[in-house]
C-alpha cells in the first residue's frame, strides 16, 4: 500500500512539475496564436478562394489592390491608390509607389500584369481565386506606365473593381505552373515557417510599406474539433478560436457571434411538377416557421432572410418583406393548385448536405416536418458533401426527380449579381430555374452602373421573391472565442479574411 501511495505521489509530482512550465502560456504581448478548423493545403495566393487559406494569407502575406469593408461595403485603397472605368470593359488602376515584394521584386504595373496573367491561364493552371473574383471574365492587363495599369475584360464589366478586393497580388517570381507553399507578397507579414500538420508561423515584414502592425508574430494551429478550439483559448494556449459552436460559446466576455455572410436558402427544382407551379412554391415558403428555429435548433443571433443578398450588398431590396409563417394560406394555395390538376402530393426529395452548418440535419428535419404538415410529401435525404455536390451544380443527375435542395452560399462580394446568377438559366452552374423574363432582368442589370444598377438588381430580387424562385431562410452566424488580452472582435469579414494588422492588445 505504501509503495502504491509513493507511485501516485510521484505521478502527481511529475505532472505538477511539467505543468506550470509548459502550459502557462505567458506569451509576451507581441505574439498571438490563432486556432483554425483545418490546415491549408497550400498557401498559394491563387487558392485564397478557400477560406482556410485566405484566413492565413489574404492581406497578411498577399495583398489585394482594394480593401472592401464587409460591414458597410465601402471600398478603400490598399495596393491601388485609385481606380476608374475607362470604357465599359477597361478599368485603369493607379498603383501605390515604393512598394516591394518580400523577395525584393518591385510592386509595379508589371507585377499586376503578371498576377492577372497567372490567374487567367485556366487551360494550363487552375487559379480558384480568379474564378471567385472574376467568374468567367477573361482579363488582360497592360502596363500604361510604371505605376498605372489597364485591365480589360472580354465582356462589359462594370463591377470588375469588386474582384480587385478579392484577387491578391503575387510576386513576379512565383512559378507560373505550380501551386506554391511559400507565398511571397507585399503584405505586413511574411511566412516564417510551415511545419506541416503542426503550425504555420507568420512574422512581421520589417519592410512593409504601411504602418508596422502591433503583433510581431502570429502562429496558426489547427484543430478539427470546435470544443478543443474553444478550450485552447480558455486554457490560454491560443488567443483566437474560429468557428466554435454555439454550445461552446458560453462565456460572454470572450465569445462572440458574428455574421458569416452565408445565406441559407431552399432551391425548389421547378423543372418538375409540382414545384413548377408558383402556388406550390409559395405554399412551401409559407409553411416554414423560421422564427421557431431561432434559439432552438439555430443560434438566436441568426437572422431571417427574405432575399439572397444581405443589407450591405448593392442590389439589396429593402422593400421585400419577410414571408410570414401562414400554414392556413399554404394549405389553401395547395388546394387551389390541386384543383387545377397539379399533383401536389408527388413525392419530393429534400437534398441536404451533412454538416453544411452546425445542426444542419436538425434544421432540415424541422423544415421537412413543417412542409409536410401542410400537405406536401417531402422526404429528407442527407448526404456527404461530395455526393451533394452532384446535385448542386450542372450536369444534374438525370433521375433526380422533384426535389428541393438546401444550399448555403456566401454573399460577401459587394454586388447582388454574384448571388443572383444562381437563378440565371445560362449564367450559373447551379440554376434550375428557367425563366426568360428573369434572365432578361439579370442580363440588363449586370451591364448597368451606379444607381441604375442598384435599382435593376433590386428589381431582380423582387422578381425572385414574387415568383418564389427560391425560398430564402437565414443569414447565418458563426461564433469565435477571443482571449481577453486582445482588443478585437470578429465581424462580417472574419469568415473570409483575418487581418492580423487590425488586431490590438487590450493593455
Amino acid at each position: 500500500m505504501k509503495r502504491k501511495s509513493h507511485a501516485l505521489a510521484t505521478f502527481v509530482l511529475a505532472l505538477s512539475l511539467i505543468a506550470p512550465a509548459q502550459f502557462a502560456r505567458a506569451q509576451d504581448n507581441t505574439e498571438i496564436t490563432i486556432v483554425g478548423w483545418t490546415e491549408p493545403d497550400t498557401l498559394d495566393p491563387c487558392e485564397t478562394a478557400h477560406a482556410a487559406i485566405s484566413l492565413v494569407s489574404k492581406n497578411n502575406i498577399n495583398e489585394t489592390l482594394i480593401d472592401r469593408n464587409g460591414e458597410t461595403g465601402e471600398l478603400t485603397p490598399r495596393l491601388a491608390t485609385s481606380w476608374e472605368m475607362v470604357d465599359d470593359r477597361t478599368w485603369r488602376i493607379k498603383l501605390r509607389e515604393g512598394v516591394s515584394f518580400t523577395d525584393g521584386a518591385p510592386f509595379n504595373a508589371d507585377a499586376v500584369v503578371f498576377s492577372i496573367k497567372r490567374g487567367m491561364r485556366q487551360e494550363e493552371f487552375n487559379c480558384s481565386v480568379s474564378q471567385k473574383s472574376f467568374t468567367s471574365f477573361k482579363l488582360t492587363a497592360e502596363a500604361v506606365d510604371e505605376y498605372t495599369v489597364d485591365i480589360t475584360s472580354d465582356l462589359p464589366a462594370p463591377i470588375l473593381h469588386l474582384g480587385f478586393a478579392i484577387y491578391p497580388m503575387m510576386s513576379p517570381n512565383t512559378d507560373m505552373n505550380t501551386l506554391t507553399r511559400s507565398p511571397v507578397g507585399t503584405g505586413p507579414y511574411v511566412l516564417k515557417e510551415w511545419i506541416s500538420g503542426t503550425r504555420i508561423v507568420l512574422e512581421r515584414n520589417p519592410d512593409y510599406w504601411g504602418e508596422q502592425p502591433e503583433i510581431s508574430q502570429a502562429t496558426y494551429v489547427f484543430r478539427n474539433e470546435p470544443s478543443v478550439r474553444a478550450a485552447m483559448v480558455a486554457a490560454g494556449e491560443a488567443d483566437i478560436a474560429l468557428e466554435i459552436t454555439e454550445q461552446d460559446a458560453t462565456n460572454p466576455a470572450t465569445d462572440f457571434a458574428y455574421p458569416n455572410t452565408e445565406t441559407t436558402w431552399l432551391r425548389p427544382d421547378d423543372r418538375f411538377e409540382p414545384l413548377s407551379d408558383v402556388r406550390v412554391r409559395e405554399a412551401m415558403a409559407l409553411s416554414i416557421d423560421r422564427e421557431a428555429m431561432l434559439g432552438t435548433v439555430l443560434p438566436k443571433d441568426t437572422r431571417l432572410a427574405a432575399q439572397l443578398p444581405g443589407p450591405s450588398i448593392d442590389g439589396y431590396n429593402p422593400d421585400i418583406q419577410q414571408r410570414p409563417y401562414d400554414p392556413e394560406r399554404a394549405r389553401q394555395l395547395l388546394a387551389e393548385a390541386a384543383a387545377d390538376g397539379v399533383k401536389v402530393d408527388t413525392p419530393i426529395r429534400f437534398l441536404g448536405r451533412i454538416g453544411v452548418f452546425a445542426n444542419a440535419e436538425e434544421v432540415m428535419q424541422v423544415v421537412t416536418q413543417m412542409i409536410n404538415q401542410v400537405g406536401f410529401n417531402v422526404s429528407l435525404e442527407m448526404m456527404e458533401r461530395a455526393r451533394h455536390a452532384n446535385f448542386q451544380a450542372r450536369p444534374f443527375p438525370e433521375d433526380v426527380g422533384p426535389n428541393i435542395n438546401l444550399i448555403m452560399s456566401d454573399n460577401n462580394r459587394g454586388d447582388a449579381s454574384f448571388g443572383l446568377f444562381n437563378h440565371h438559366s445560362k449564367g450559373n452552374q447551379s440554376a434550375t430555374y428557367t425563366h426568360p423574363e428573369l434572365d432578361a432582368l439579370i442580363d440588363r442589370a449586370i451591364t448597368l452602373t451606379g444607381k441604375e444598377r442598384t435599382t435593376a438588381l433590386q428589381a431582380v430580387n423582387a422578381y425572385v421573391h414574387d415568383h418564389t424562385v427560391i425560398i430564402p431562410l437565414f443569414y447565418m452566424v458563426s461564433f469565435a472565442r477571443v482571449s481577453e488580452r486582445l482588443k478585437w472582435v470578429p465581424n462580417d469579414e472574419t469568415s473570409s479574411q483575418l487581418i492580423i494588422q487590425r488586431i490590438r492588445f487590450a493593455d
Binding site: 502550459f23 478557400h50 474564378q131 505550380t178 507553399r181 500538420g197 452532384n390
Partner: protein
C-alpha cells in the same frame, strides 16, 4: 521461418494489388473532385479545364495505366489539394501514428495482462470485481466523449496537461490514454477469462497440489494464456495502425487516420491510394509479427508445412 515469411509476402502482395485496384476504381466512382475543389463560381469550362489538367477526364483504364506506370517508378502521384507528392504527404503522418499506436499498445498490453492476471488469481474477490467493473467501463466509454472530457478537466480546469497539439511527452498523455482505454478494457477481460480457464485446468490443480507457489502457478498459467491474448491483441494493434482517428482529430495530431479521412472527404485520390498502400503494408508486417509470435509462444506451431 524465412520460407513462411516469403510465402506470406507473396500472398499479401496479391491481396495488396487487389486492394489498390479496388481503391482506385471505388474512389473514381464517387464523382468529380473538381466539384468539391473549385469555387461555386467556376464555370463548366473551368471545371472541364481543371479535370483535363488533373487527368480526371481520361477513361478510367487510362488513368489506371498511368497510375501503374508511376508505381513502377515509385511515383505515387501528386496530391490534388497540396500539389506535392502524395507519398510525401502521407509519410509525414507515419511517425505520429507509429508513436501513438505503439505507446497505446504497450500500455494496453502491460495493464491488461497485469490486471487481468491478478483479477483471475482471485475470481470474485474485491480486486477482481473492481477490475471487471473498471475494464467494462473502459471498454464501453466512447472515445470522443473521454477525449473531450479529458481536455476540459485536465487542460482547462486543472491546467495539468495541454489541450492538444504535438510536442513533449505531456502532449501524448491524453491521446495515448484515449487510444488505449477501450483496448485495455477489452483485453483485460480476455486475459482474465483465459487465465480463469487455465487456472482451473487439471495441470494447474496438480501443480498446486504438489505445493507450487502462487506466483509460479500464475507464471505457468500466463504462458498458456498467451495464444488467445496475442490473437485479440493483434487485432487491436491492426486497428491502431489503421489510425486512431478520434484521438488524432480531437488532439490535432497529424497521423495516418486523419490524413486518410481528410483525403477521402476531399476526394484527393492520390493521397487516399498512398495512405491505403502504407496502411496495408503496416498491417501485413504486423500480421507477420503476430504469426512469428505464435511460433515463439507455442513451439508446437510450425510454419513449414
Amino acid at each position: 521461418m524465412l520460407q513462411f515469411i516469403l510465402r506470406r509476402a507473396l500472398n499479401s502482395s496479391i491481396a495488396l494489388v487487389g486492394l489498390l485496384v479496388a481503391v482506385f476504381v471505388l474512389t473514381r466512382m464517387t464523382g468529380d473532385p473538381a466539384s468539391l475543389y473549385l469555387p461555386a463560381e467556376a464555370t463548366a469550362e473551368q471545371r472541364a479545364a481543371y479535370a483535363d489538367q488533373m487527368g480526371y477526364s481520361d477513361p478510367i483504364i487510362v488513368q489506371f495505366g498511368r497510375y501503374v506506370e508511376g508505381l513502377l517508378h515509385f511515383d505515387f502521384g501528386t496530391s490534388m489539394r497540396q500539389q506535392r507528392s502524395a507519398m510525401e504527404a502521407v509519410m509525414e503522418a507515419v511517425p505520429t501514428t507509429i508513436l501513438l499506436s505503439s505507446l497505446a499498445f504497450s500500455i494496453t498490453l502491460v495493464v491488461a495482462v497485469a490486471v487481468g492476471a491478478l483479477a483471475a488469481s482471485r475470481p470474485g474477490g474485491i480486486f477482481d470485481r473492481m477490475a471487471t467493473t473498471i475494464s467494462l467501463v473502459g471498454a464501453s466509454a466512447p472515445d470522443f466523449w473521454v477525449a473531450i472530457v479529458g481536455v476540459l478537466v485536465f487542460a482547462v480546469a486543472l491546467n495539468l496537461l495541454p489541450t492538444s497539439g504535438m510536442g513533449g511527452p505531456q502532449y501524448w498523455v491524453m491521446p495515448v490514454i484515449v487510444v488505449a482505454l477501450r483496448p485495455t478494457g477489452l483485453l483485460t477481460q480476455v486475459v482474465r477469462g483465459t487465465m480463469i480457464s487455465v487456472l482451473s485446468s487439471p495441470y494447474v490443480k496438480t501443480a498446486k497440489a504438489k505445493g507450487l507457489g502462487h506466483r509460479a502457478v500464475l507464471g505457468h498459467a500466463l504462458r498458456s494464456s498467451w495464444l488467445p491474448v496475442i490473437t485479440v491483441a493483434g487485432d487491436m494493434a491492426v486497428g491502431m495502425i489503421n489510425g486512431s482517428i478520434i484521438a488524432e482529430t480531437v488532439f490535432g495530431l497529424h497521423g495516418m487516420g486523419k490524413v486518410l479521412i481528410d483525403a477521402i472527404m476531399q476526394r484527393d485520390f492520390a493521397v487516399v491510394q498512398s495512405a491505403v498502400l502504407i496502411i496495408a503494408i503496416g498491417i501485413f508486417v504486423l500480421n507477420i509479427l503476430i504469426d512469428v509470435l505464435y511460433g515463439l509462444v507455442d513451439p508446437r506451431i510450425r510454419y513449414n508445412k
